[in-house]
């Protein structure tokens, strides 16, 4: 018995919408099995994990706080992946954005008027963009693989942040804890009402809308799509693949940096060695689950935000390991990629042709 792919005459429109849903459904099923194996009641665990987070206003607020960075980073990565530019180091760009943006309140504590907020956000985004520029430069100038360079830079960024918060930027009144001074007043992002939702969520929505227009309506968006799907055709049309690499890295780096500084100036309020529970890596999944479409990313960001929240709740309520969320993320990406195959191909089980070379089979089909 063997699994045979049959190319569809054209892409399946229905599957393009169904495949992410199918992937989520399969992940939930796999989740039930994993919970069962760990000795939890699968139904109860899935409820705590994926439904309870959206039952109270408090947790919905918390969900938006968690989803905002995922959407901000994910929407930038979606543009990269569309262009076949593989920025895997968003976590590093997030870290540097947070670090550089924090320089403003830490080095200029007296700067307390409203403009400081704008300055912090811009400097954070610039920091992320500059850090993203490193793999772009190495790629365009030396041809170095951007996957490996951007990923290596994540470790470098995290170690640098670690040095700053344990060394020069450690709060002298912080009882020796590795953290910076706490931000105050306009150094902090304004929140919505008295809640935890800060303007980072608004920035994420703006990024989604802007990139939706750019990708769908502008020449740049068209260039990106052409270079991504047919690089040779793009070059014949006079589009520069190098400039696309630069554009993608600067854009996604800036958005990751913005997400980073929003984490520090938002929920946490000070710099510390760990500022993100792997948002930069989870955003890769968000981009794919959102089908590399900005609005899709918005929905996907909320869905993965739920898994972070549910992970915390399940750990407290049921004693489920906090590692489970990461396993879910990996499984989810597996299922998304597998289900996307259904857009281009029909999958068929063919009994008994496993040992027969495929060439013969296609010949037989041609004759028939």
């Amino acid at each position: 018995m063997s699994l045979v792919l049959e190319k569809r005459a054209e892409q399946s429109k229905a599957m393009a919408y169904l495949s992410p849903l199918l992937a989520v459904a399969l992940t939930l099923l796999a989740g039930a099995v994993i919970f069962g194996l760990q000795g939890f009641n699968p139904a109860r665990a899935l409820y705590v994990y994926f439904l309870e987070p959206v039952t109270t206003w408090w947790s919905i607020e918390e969900l938006i706080v968690k989803a905002a960075p995922l959407v901000l980073i994910g929407v930038g990565l979606a543009v990269c992946f569309r262009a076949n530019v593989w920025n895997i180091g968003a976590e590093g760009q997030l870290t540097v954005g947070a670090l550089v943006g924090s320089a403003v309140p830490i080095l200029m504590p007296e700067f307390q008027q409203f403009p400081v907020l704008i300055v912090i956000l811009i400097v954070g985004a610039l920091g992320g963009a500059l850090y993203g520029a490193i793999p772009a430069l190495l790629k365009t100038r030396f041809g170095a693989n951007e996957i490996l360079t951007s990923l290596m830079l994540v470790y470098v960024a995290q170690l640098t942040l670690d040095w700053f918060v344990r060394g020069p930027w450690r709060d002298p009144q912080g009882f020796n804890f590795p953290k910076s001074v706490s931000f105050e007043g306009w150094q902090l992002l304004p929140t919505l009402g008295d809640g935890r939702v800060h303007i980072g969520a608004g920035l994420a929505v703006i990024a989604v809308i802007v990139l939706f227009v750019v990708m769908g309506k502008s020449l740049k968006g068209f260039e990106i799509r052409v270079i991504g799907t047919a690089p040779r055709a793009g070059e014949f049309a006079g589009f520069s693949a190098r400039r696309i690499v630069w554009f993608c890295f600067l854009l996604s780096g800036a958005l990751a940096g913005l997400a980073g500084i929003c984490e520090v100036a938002g929920p946490s309020g000070h710099l510390q060695p760990a500022i993100s529970p792997g948002y930069g890596f989870t955003a890769i999944i968000v981009a794919f689950l959102g089908r590399l479409n900005p609005f899709g990313v918005l929905v996907a960001g909320l869905m993965l935000g739920i898994s972070y929240l549910g992970g915390e709740a399940a750990q407290i309520d049921l004693g489920v390991s906090d590692k489970t969320a990461q396993v879910f993320h990996g499984i989810l990406l597996f299922f998304i990629l597998s289900c996307d195959t259904l857009i281009l191909y029909r999958v068929r089980w063919v009994p008994g042709v496993g040992r027969q070379p495929h060439g013969h089979q296609s010949q037989a089909q041609r004759e028939a």
């Binding site: 290596m152 890596f281 597996f334 089979q361």
Partner: protein, 306 residues
């Protein structure tokens, strides 16, 4: 034991996991497949090896568990990229994400437990020779295995029919298919070999390098192994050189740290990653070196029925 001997011995232990993982990935890439899941397979190999060795008390069962778990992970990758023709970069990434999560979950009960250290092979008379003795004859078995792997891969790839087929599949899968070779089957085989090597490298980490389970204990070594394959321009013996170069840098960082030089430890810890970037830049900038052996079909999916 002299100080120099100690340095050389630690360099060998730091280089071995890089070498094993990289030589496996080299075979995978020579067949035209890019598996970015090395880090994930390695970390799962490490935790499974530790768990099996701890439960049974035998490091060899641990090694076996590490290898098998690596193969299991790689089959998952093979099913996605070869059978379902998914994007190899994204699939490899998901393998790494899954591996890091899964290893944390499996390893939860094993954190902080005393490990089972693999005992070194000691040939009584030979190990007593100063310097050369312990370095050449007192290593643990996996170090010798790593050298044998390099020699075997080099021999098979360049001197045998199987090697020719692997290189043909990686160089031009359409031609290889037209000649009657089963491209998918060859690639599955190579992917599984790569998985076995990554699992073995992980097992070495948790049974010999630091005989215990620490979360994320691979610390980017899987990614460095991937970079090593590029650095070696897909030539097996250059992987050996590259792995020992990186191992040396890794250990030098630790020694300088220990000597209390005024450089913050974080920057010394970042050194291997920075050197990896530098190495990639130097090699990739040299088109003459990279062009010769780069598998032409690397990262491209193959659908036979077309």
């Amino acid at each position: 034991m002299g100080a120099m001997e100690a340095v050389v011995l630690t360099i060998i232990t730091a280089s071995t996991p890089l070498l094993i993982a990289a030589i496996g990935e080299l075979v995978v890439e020579r067949s035209g497949v890019l598996n970015l899941g090395v880090e994930g397979m390695m970390v799962v190999g490490a935790v499974c090896a530790f768990a099996a060795a701890y439960t049974t008390g035998s490091p060899w069962i641990g090694v076996l568990a590490g290898v098998l778990s690596g193969v299991g992970m790689s089959v998952l990758f093979g099913f996605l990229t070869q059978t379902l023709v998914t994007n190899q970069v994204a699939s490899g990434l998901s393998l790494t994400l899954l591996g890091l999560g899964l290893s944390g979950l499996i390893g939860e009960g094993f954190t902080g437990l005393p490990g089972v250290k693999m005992t070194a092979i000691e040939i009584p008379a030979l190990t007593e020779i100063p310097f050369i003795g312990p370095v050449l004859f007192g290593q643990d078995p996996l170090v010798y295995v790593s050298f044998m792997l390099v020699a075997a891969v080099a021999y098979v790839l360049t001197r045998t029919r199987i090697g020719l087929i692997i290189r043909a599949v990686g160089g031009n899968h359409h031609s290889a298919h037209a000649l009657g070779y089963n491209v998918i089957a060859v690639r599955y085989g190579c992917i599984m070999f790569g998985g076995a090597c990554a699992g073995l490298a992980g097992a070495y980490l948790s049974l010999s390098y630091t005989p215990q389970w620490i979360e994320n204990m691979t610390a980017g070594r899987g990614w460095i192994a991937l970079a090593l394959v590029v650095f070696a321009t897909w030539v097996p013996f250059r992987v050996l050189i590259g792995a020992y170069l990186f191992g040396t840098i890794w250990i030098m960082g630790l020694y300088v740290q220990g000597m209390g030089v005024g450089i913050p430890s974080q920057f010394l810890s970042a050194l291997p990653y920075l050197v990896t970037i530098a190495a990639l830049v130097v090699i990739s900038g040299n088109r003459l070196l990279t062009k010769v052996n780069t598998p032409a079909c690397i990262g491209q999916s193959f659908v036979p029925d077309r």
